[in-house]
């Protein structure tokens, strides 16, 4: 009996320790994250769930705002596709070159992640601006000035630059685990280089590519600096609309509605992608 009592004592103190280790972190999450986010999405200042629901309804039907949602999704999808088309080959190359090269190339691809988004986007103003690099190039070729700044194309370019490292990393993590002999075997059995790539290399790296696509899509939907600087007030997406709702029109319930749509969009895509990858891993 004494022994059993002792054990329970140990058990209890272990429970107590675990509790003490977890609670501070959970408390900060509750106070600094769950409470404020839930409160803002449902009960903004001078509003209640009904106002937010009404604002969300008008956001989803308003002929001015609907294009903003459509543009956000379009920009995110195009950015994701371009990142995949460019990032996958880079990751493939890095996974197949000798190690002394792969480390350096990978570092070069990762390095931009150390810089803030203003630094990374600012250069595009020089390239795409009114008398920028691209404009003088097209004028030199007799094509007239290029007007790419403050267009959707500019936003996509900036976002591709921002998120390519994430795509490269995700694809690389799958590709570097792949045995290169699988591809060689396919080739040895008579598959053309293209067929070996389509039927062996790419399908096996699909989980990494899917993670990359999810990261890039979510990042593109929520990015702020780049669409603000390269799209401006002319080409609003959800994040820049949210900012102007808060800062310019000071319309809290409307801001909450935009925040809600943005959050749901990201959550739905993340959920879909984890469903998809779960399905892929059971097959």
């Amino acid at each position: 009996m004494r022994r059993a009592a002792n054990l329970t004592g140990v058990e209890l103190s272990r429970r107590g320790t675990l509790f003490a280790l977890l609670v501070p972190g959970l408390a900060v999450l509750l106070f600094g994250f769950l409470y404020p986010v839930a409160a803002t999405l449902a009960f903004p200042p001078d509003g209640d769930p009904a106002t937010v629901a009404r604002e969300t309804g008008s956001l989803l039907t308003d002929p001015y705002l609907l294009p903003v949602i459509a543009r956000t999704i379009r920009v995110a999808v195009v950015t994701t596709l371009i990142c995949l088309v460019l990032g996958f080959p880079v990751a493939y190359l890095i996974s197949r070159v000798p190690p002394r090269w792969s480390g350096k190339l990978l570092a070069l691809a990762i390095f931009p992640l150390m810089l803030n988004t203003v630094v990374r986007t600012y250069g595009w103003l020089v390239v795409l601006g009114g008398n920028g690099l691209l404009s003088s190039l097209t004028e030199g070729l007799g094509l007239g000035p290029s007007r790419l700044l403050y267009t959707e194309t500019a936003i996509v370019l900036g976002l591709v630059q921002l998120f390519l490292p994430l795509m490269i990393l995700s694809c690389y993590s799958s590709l570097s685990q792949q045995d290169p002999r699988l591809e060689e075997a396919a080739r040895g059995l008579g598959a053309s280089p293209g067929r070996a790539f389509r039927q062996v290399v790419f399908p096996l790296a699909l989980p990494g590519a899917l993670v990359g696509c999810t990261l890039v899509f979510a990042g593109a939907v929520t990015a702020f600096t780049t669409p603000q600087l390269l799209g401006g007030a002319r080409e609003r997406i959800l994040s820049t609309l949210l900012y102007s709702r808060v800062n310019v029109s000071l319309d809290w319930p409307a801001a909450s509605a935009v925040a809600l749509v943005m959050t749901v969009l990201v959550l739905v895509v993340s959920a879909l992608s984890s469903r998809l990858s779960a399905k892929g891993s059971t097959q």
Partner: protein, 261 residues
């Protein structure tokens, strides 16, 4: 495989897009002219002098460093014990708790910033600086839990059992076995968290007060209101600092290991 010429072409294009706009800033920053043009019109250091002379950049750099340091320390102080409990203890509903610690990553940072502004700054009258620290701590917690957790998951719990079996108390076991095992993870998490906080824009954007604002937000505001190359000079200074941090990181724990996750 993809055909070599195509592979090389796509790779070159990818690196051009990733690094080209940043490299161009090097040229713009050293211009003697007063507009944002490349190639530069003559060479000078006047924009660097202007950058170091612009008070909002200097004071916001101070704010950024304080917020990054405090929130990194806090995120580790909260995250490491939580990771320890999650990895080494038998917790009912462990998956749920783990997911809870990862959620701040899924919610858009701009939305979290708006929420903290409305509920903590306006609602509870908490200062901008304190709200920034709280927000950044929440943002960094998932990194701390995940990165330190990864290094713990790789280690063998029997090491700790052996230490206990050989007569070491729980505290001694923690400081002489568990902590050394977690050290590379903690260093990686600290560097990653510090840089993440330092670079953040969307979360910090709305959390400003009189004289309180972070450097990237001040840079963004400056770029939106004027067209001279001051921010290019600031960018080049930050670029140089990042190269230095990257080299130190490479020596300490490996650059690709820290930032390549």
């Amino acid at each position: 495989m993809i055909r070599r010429p195509l592979l090389s072409l796509l790779t070159a294009l990818a690196f051009l897009i990733m690094l080209g706009p940043v490299v161009i800033l090097l040229g713009v920053a050293f211009t003697a002219g007063s507009t944002l043009t490349f190639p530069p019109e003559g060479l000078s250091l006047r924009w660097f002098a202007a950058a170091l002379d612009y008070q909002p950049f200097i004071s916001s750099l101070g704010t950024s460093l304080v917020v990054a340091a405090l929130s990194t320390v806090l995120a580790l102080a909260l995250g490491v014990p939580a990771t320890l409990a999650l990895q080494r203890g038998l917790i009912p509903g462990r998956g749920v708790v783990e997911n809870l610690f990862a959620t701040p990553i899924i919610v858009p940072e701009l939305v979290l910033g708006l929420a903290l502004f409305q509920q903590l700054m306006v609602g509870l009258q908490i200062t901008a600086l304190a709200t920034l620290v709280i927000g950044h701590t929440v943002l960094l917690l998932p990194y701390a839990v995940r990165v330190v957790g990864a290094s713990l998951a790789l280690s063998d719990p029997r090491l700790e059992e052996a230490a206990r079996g050989l007569g070491a108390g729980p505290l001694r076991t923690f400081f002489q076995v568990t902590l050394p095992v977690m050290r590379p993870g903690i260093i990686s998490a600290a560097i990653l968290a510090f840089i993440t906080s330092l670079n953040n824009v969307p979360l910090s954007l709305l959390l400003t007060g009189p004289g309180v604002s972070t450097l990237p937000v001040e840079m963004l505001n400056y770029v939106q209101s004027s067209y001279d190359p001051v921010v290019a000079a600031v960018s080049v200074l930050l670029l140089a600092a990042s190269v230095a941090v990257a080299l130190v990181t490479e020596r300490l724990v490996g650059f690709n290991k820290v930032f390549g996750r």
